[in-house]
Symmetry: C2
Subunit: 228 residues, 2 copies
DNA sequence: TGGCGCAATATTGTATACAATAATGCCGAC
DNA sequence: GTCGGCATTATTGTATACAATATTGCGCCA
């Protein structure tokens, strides 16, 4: 962190900062999040750090191991499937709803998002591209104007970042913006049916681009890889 | 609490204990949850209490007001609708899935739940009946074997308890067990289509039994009822 | 008498001290 | 030389002390 930090680091800020780092794949799954280390980095006490870690733990981005500390979560293959199963229940219908509520301003935001993602991809900033890709989905949820569902999708998108970090199979890089562009067209037409279908397909494509053969577990570290 | 408490009150235990109290309508929306008060009641320090309150806050069962303390949440009419909208996206499909995975043992559990709810209703234990009713839905989610979705439904059920506490309109008491019984039949037949439809109708009935005319806000306490 | 402001009080927010636990390294015994 | 146990160290878990803030009550003044 900066030595001169004018920002006030509340637990929410710290949690958001860490979550962003997860989104951008700067904090890979399994990373140890030492309390003292973070406290010093942000210039706050462990109390705030612990609150932030608890918040992330509730969002399943962080796993707590008793007396061992907090770690960036490593979703299992099982959990990876579940996250996308949940998204497939929520997001298509949400996209349909968004299509009927879409304003010109909303469309501009989504267009800008896609453009930004293109720029990031061209610049090789994959982390940023991934963040923007998630933000597209989140923006759709926001437009649907269902805060409760939006919160759920928000958490699922974050967890998806971890899943992608663990199970993304190389190749097929820019299919993302294609799918988002198709969705944008449906939104522009106010075509709810199309938006729902496109979102459903998009999510299926995402899962298909993952390597979820349970053999190649992450097994980053240690004893639990051996089951003891 | 008991003066002699052999139980170890971790923050999770405390949170679960409070959540149960919310379910059973022993803690009505708006109730102030003083940290010192809870700490003394459970015989622990404020540290644990705060962790528990944070957990409940993340589940939207508790609202934190800066420098004012924690209160049992009072979902707005808007939020009430959103909660049931979310449930209607998740639970019908989950019920379908549960129908195809249902075992004899699962059926027994659900039967027992309905029976227990009947007993509670006959005994006039409305809080317990409500708790059991929620558990029925949660059990269905468990049977569907999608832990991620189950967690979401669990939170939504808890929040529904608050909604019911605030907006339940008297009359129509025991329609609950009827709907659950119909679902049970569908489960017994392994009829996913019927289960999905029944769950959808059941949730619509639940919303219909609420008084969600935005005028009659709860406005339990004070200044924010007047917007300042 | 009513309103304003200050002081007292209570409660939450934060930091820190201490306890408990697990990991690590050392040393001795076989 | 290797294994087992003990001591050391590091890290998290919990309690508590202190600071910050909001509320409440009192008293002064118009």
């Amino acid at each position: 962190m900066n030595t001169i930090d004018t920002k006030l680091w509340t637990s929410e800020n710290v949690a958001a900062d860490l979550e962003r780092a997860v989104h951008e794949h700067r904090l890979p799954p399994g990373t140890k999040l030492g309390e003292d280390e973070l406290a010093e980095a942000y210039g706050i006490s462990r109390t705030i750090v612990r609150a932030a870690l608890q918040a992330l733990s509730h969002r399943r981005l962080v796993e707590h191991k008793r007396n061992r500390g907090a770690f960036i979560a490593q979703p299992s293959v099982r959990e990876a499937r579940e996250v996308f199963e949940a998204r497939s229940l929520l997001e298509p219908r949400t996209a349909r709803s968004a299509a009927t509520r879409m304003t010109e301003q909303d469309l501009d935001i989504l267009k800008q998002n896609i453009a930004d993602e293109h720029v990031a991809l061209d610049a090789g900033e994959n982390g940023r591209a991934l963040l923007l890709s998630g933000q597209f989905h989140l923006e759709v949820a926001r437009i649907a104007d269902q805060a409760t569902i939006e919160d759920m999708i928000s958490e699922l998108i974050s967890r998806s970042s971890l899943v992608i970090a663990l199970y993304w199979r190389r190749r097929a890089a820019l299919c993302e913006t294609q799918a988002h562009h198709a969705l944008l067209d449906a939104f522009a037409e106010g075509n709810g049916d199309a938006a729902e279908d496109l979102m459903k397909s998009h999510l299926l494509d995402l899962v298909a681009s993952l390597d979820l053969r349970s053999v190649s577990q992450p097994a980053t570290s240690l004893r639990e890889a051996l089951g003891r």
